[in-house]
Amino acid sequence: MTAITTQHIAAAVSGAKAAMGDLEQVLNEADSKLGDGDTGSMLTRLIDRLAEADTATEPSLSDTFSKLARAAMGATGSSLGTLFATGLMTASRMTKGREAIPWSELAPLLSASRDAMMARGGAKLGDKTVLDAIHEVALAVEGLNDPVAVAQSAKQAGQVVLERFFNESCKVGRARMFADKSVGMHDPGMLAFVKLVDAVAR
């Protein structure tokens, strides 16, 4: 039975990087509707930096996550990028000293990251942010220990959460002031997470 290792993380990063080519302007476009139009370019840069970080020789999963967190932090100070780095730091803390974790530990890892991101950013579940997508995926992979099933469920959950929030309004940031305008469009952070899950879970 397989477990999550540093190699899986490296593969996920490569997958994400490959996906960003097409995603960059799609995410910029989504962000430009209510925000400042930079989500895609920011994530492209961030993921490029993750890909540059050589994690092959890291002794533990924790060290890998930590190295990636530091790379992410160096790449940006945007909301989403910083939350992303916060999630990676949490993952690092939770995997101290471990070379691999079973797939069934992905759900608690995601949940803990989500909580850390909530604490850092001050948003709540239901606010129509990246948090809701992480939450949904965490729930979907809960208890699963088979990588194929995990991938399947994660992808499915991504579609579900996107659809569910499509007609909701944003409740954080300046967008909350113009709640109506955010109905009928995807939150760029949520969209980014779902699309990257799709890419990584091929």
Binding site: G37, G40, M42, G81, A175, M177
Partner: protein, 331 residues
């Protein structure tokens, strides 16, 4: 939306190189070169003021590093907050032993990174306080004032805090006047045309050829209404009305900033100022040290913002105190 640039990803670093080459009073510092500090360094015994924010708003933020203003500035990519390292660097470099005021706009990324920087720096025992600019009245209702974004009016907080720090005041005092300046300042903007983030392939928003948007944010975030272009006086009247409704000027005295967003010519700013001054005169509000020009921009965005900074004797004295940076000088 043509731009004179080289690689879009090199934009910020090339801008900072040019800025510091042209203005030797500013130097690049910090691990990634993403802090601008005074060439002279922090004066020991002075409270430091560290600011920061995303690129694309020159002269804000980095341009206001100078005497009587801020000491250091962490700078991020275009419309992205500065990263944690830069925030830490900016705080450390502003530390002259009497503590550091962190004074920046109320944006998610900026806040998270300055917060994390503060946590990391706890063991270094640098005493810090935080004041956030929240002057944009279109970005939150009255009862959510603390959620509002900081825009052009932030420079009044720089001025007040900078003057107080230069006087030799302690961190609490510098923090108090920064907060007082923020509380006394309101801004509203109107956009005529968008800008484009260098790495993006289209503008941050689109407006028809005859449309304007009242209340738009400095990153192109949605405003209060979008409608046909109106005469300048009508636009100014609405802006002044909204500003005064949000904050009645009980002191009878204000400074006003008629700020260009980037692509709007000075001529138009003076047309706006003319009307604003007329309206304030009618309201029996005295104008002190008016500012008209491009003080806080969004690259090539077209439009303008008006900020009113209501002053009492203390704020008036701080506003009039000497200050000197490449883009704002009070003799």
């Amino acid at each position: 939306m043509k731009k004179l640039l080289n690689a879009p990803t090199a934009y910020v670093d090339e801008v900072l190189d040019g800025l510091t080459l042209a203005h030797p009073s500013l130097v690049r510092d910090g691990t990634a070169g993403r802090v601008i500090r005074r060439a002279s360094g922090i004066r020991s015994g002075k409270v430091g003021i560290a600011s920061g924010g995303g690129s694309g708003h020159l002269p804000l933020f980095t341009g206001y590093v100078g005497s009587g203003l801020i000491d250091t500035c962490a700078i991020g990519n275009v419309f992205e907050g500065p990263n944690i390292d830069s925030c830490m660097d900016a705080i450390r470099l502003a530390n002259g032993g009497r503590g550091v005021l962190r004074l920046y706009g109320n944006y998610g990324g900026d806040r998270m990174n300055f917060d994390m920087a503060g946590e990391f720096l706890e063991e270094e025992r640098i005493h810090t306080t935080t004041v956030l600019g929240t002057d944009d009245i279109a970005s939150g209702t009255q009862d959510e004032r603390q959620k509002r974004r900081g825009v052009a009016g932030l420079i009044y907080a720089y001025k007040a805090a900078g003057a107080k720090a230069e006087e030799g005041a302690d961190l609490d005092e510098v923090t108090r006047v920064a907060r007082k300046a923020v509380d006394a300042t309101r801004t509203i903007g109107v956009a005529l045309a968008p800008c484009r983030v260098p790495t993006a392939d289209r503008p941050t928003f689109s407006l028809a050829g005859d449309e304007i948007e009242m209340g738009m944010g400095i990153h192109g975030e949605p405003g209060i209404w979008r409608d046909k272009l109106k005469p300048a006086d009508a636009v100014v009247d609405e802006m002044i009305d909204r500003l005064l409704a949000d904050q009645p000027v009980t002191t009878g005295r204000i400074s006003i900033l008629v700020n260009g967003l980037g692509a709007t010519p000075l001529e138009e700013l003076f047309i706006l100022y003319r009307r604003a001054a007329e309206r304030l005169r009618q309201a029996k509000i005295e104008i002190v040290q008016p500012l008209v020009g491009n003080y806080v921009t969004s690259m090539e965005m077209a439009g303008a913002s008006i900020s009113l900074h209501a002053i009492d004797d203390e704020l008036a004295t701080l506003l009039a105190a000497p200050a000197d940076c490449p883009f704002w000088r009070v003799p």
